[in-house]
Symmetry: C2
Subunit: 423 residues, 2 copies
Amino acid sequence: MSRRTRSRQEWEVCASTLARKTTNLIRRIVENLQVEPNPNKELIALSIGDPTTFGNLNPPEQVLQAVRDSIELNTSRGYAPSKGHYEARVAVAKYSAHQGNVHPDDVILSSGCSHAIEMVITALADCGQNVLIPRPGFSIYQTLAEGMGIVIKHYNLLPDEQWKVDLDDLESQIDDDTVAIVVINPSNPCGSVYDKDHLNEILDIASRNRVPIIADEIYEHFIFSGNKFTAISSLSQDVPVLTCGGLTKRFLVPGWRMGWVIIHDRNNILGKEIRQGLSNLSMKILGPNTLIQRALPAILEYTPQSFFDDVLLFIEDQAKLAFEELRHAPGLRPIMPQGAMYMMIEIKLSNFPEFSNEFEFIECMVSEQSVFCLPGTCFDYPNFMRIVLTIPEDKMREACQRIVLFCKEHVVFSEKRKDIEED
Amino acid sequence: MSRRTRSRQEWEVCASTLARKTTNLIRRIVENLQVEPNPNKELIALSIGDPTTFGNLNPPEQVLQAVRDSIELNTSRGYAPSKGHYEARVAVAKYSAHQGNVHPDDVILSSGCSHAIEMVITALADCGQNVLIPRPGFSIYQTLAEGMGIVIKHYNLLPDEQWKVDLDDLESQIDDDTVAIVVINPSNPCGSVYDKDHLNEILDIASRNRVPIIADEIYEHFIFSGNKFTAISSLSQDVPVLTCGGLTKRFLVPGWRMGWVIIHDRNNILGKEIRQGLSNLSMKILGPNTLIQRALPAILEYTPQSFFDDVLLFIEDQAKLAFEELRHAPGLRPIMPQGAMYMMIEIKLSNFPEFSNEFEFIECMVSEQSVFCLPGTCFDYPNFMRIVLTIPEDKMREACQRIVLFCKEHVVFSEKRKDIEED
Ligand SMILES: Cc1ncc(COP(=O)(O)O)c(C=O)c1O
Ligand SMILES: Cc1ncc(COP(=O)(O)O)c(C=O)c1O
């Protein structure tokens, strides 16, 4: 008794543009690699950005106790306001005082830092508008933006200047459709940490072009000795800064999905509109898990400094170890990081004529040495690879030695190559 | 040293269309109401859909224990695959066997049922396409769709036939841009539960018009005596059904944000495209909290039937109590629900000539009797109000008595009104 039937007579269900265009660059690349390890050597994955994978890094007892306590509260089960429980936002504001004057109303809790980034990008950008991200840079930005028709443009970092921003390039990328500049500091994948002067240079460009900044500071406080972390928001005079952070890395609980956006807007440029917009967007999934929200004040207050110091010391030691080892790998150039938990390594492909790109180098290294590094192309940066610094020391040493061996076996120096070419 | 400056010389930061158009109908309406309770009477909020608010309904000990155990696992802190840990998806598949033949690969975990709904809607619908939802119906669908430019169209439910679907109206709403029919069973706000015959009638329409179904079954198993719950997916021959569910209501943990999508697609109509699309979308926020994911197998397996029975008995008793009391409220027509945790009550405004709409009725009832019910307009259904059935019995009784009193004080019967009119 159909009153009308659709013109479509066959079943045909198509995915939306959003669903089709939402992709994960890292996964897409890794899935297409031939990574069959050498069966005689245990695989060492230097690719995994989850610091808890190897079992050597665990959250401190105080963090676990805070959640144990939270379970017993009958206020940890009901819906929270979609921006988060007030007490939790107070705690984040206090914890983030180094970023500038943070009020609980400036804080919106999110389901991990990824969700924080999603909210700020989609609050600012309409389809066709663009966001500038660093190259090399973490690929979640593409995952979150491109399906929405938001354009991701890149500005270059300078590997020879400890991955500082190429300021001219940054400014040249800004156009009338640019709604935000993303600054990832400390950086994934570079491990760079910017000093005040450099952050001020970036702010100057944002200010004279009237572009807000999205500060991805999920690695805040992961700073190796001799460097200092400065939140870009604390320096800003006029530029609105939306800072994205969370528990993920510093507290070693990525699976708990607890992140936040902090709105820094001294001159009230974002006004009601962006605040309201972020608040609207938070209503979509009604905030992060309330067990963790209720634990947040204790987590942020009672985690001892010694825990952070120990983790950081370990990572810095790993960085030094890897750097020392890999400096002796012919044909590679490791770039010593200043923070975070990664190191970028240049593969001088001219010294490895049998490989036409970094993928082939990496694939061959897995098949011979069972060591897997992430191709630089995952960060839009070919001819490099990224290693993580969070794996146990013995594995790190072993992995580096295998990398050195692999390079020695495959490197071809110019004279040698000349010989080959003359053959 | 600007290489180029934008044409924009003043700071002006606008929110995106998405951010502006993402709104919460309930909140918007409630914020605009004048709800100043009578200072001499304690406010009783019959409006709050969070069953944990009143403290009388708590998750069972087994659920809390499962999370306590999960905290101690060092696998409950790292990133999960974005569709969820395999073991958790196995548990959901097993728990959902009544829905049809569910394989773990058919399960995608989400951050609450809202997030499940967001993923299925945005996987199916492009800007300009439409999704059909019931009227009266829960407003999260507007919140999730309208900002994306996805159109929400309504089909009517029939209050005189226990809120069955007006099948003619449903079919007449389908057009070439319709990508899904949403069936909310049991229903928020109606409390209706559809039998097999009626679900088959809905499936027939979906089948001959080639429209997939989104089954919102967050209230599955909340079924009062004499009724039976059937998952619409279990009846479908050809129509693909995307079922959205979660722990939220049945386990009394809405704040934990644990939901799921289950893909039912016997004839493989959704194919790779929709599965891949959902999987892509799940990468945006990397799945729900892993503490709960790790606890999920124990939660779903060990929660005793007696817990569910007790909660359900309580809610059904409340429904009977409210129905009995409010049947005697002149000018009201409560409609006895068959499940879920709500009751809809018609306000016969012709008997309340001093109020020109249900808002005025509700506002006045708050100011005189300190009882607050949710206006039907929150569900696109004027002249009704919704009450929750989860508040403690003594409050429910008191609230109903006050409602009856309010009606007696304000009702005007036809003869009386005739008198007034003739004055
Ligand atoms: C630079 C950067 N931003 C954001 C994220 C996402 O963090 P989360 O896991 O809290 O979503 C990561 C995770 O690796 C990251 O490296
Ligand atoms: C019909 C319906 N669907 C979905 C939801 C959202 O559930 P969750 O809190 O798990 O996101 C609700 C919440 O009240 C609901 O009533």
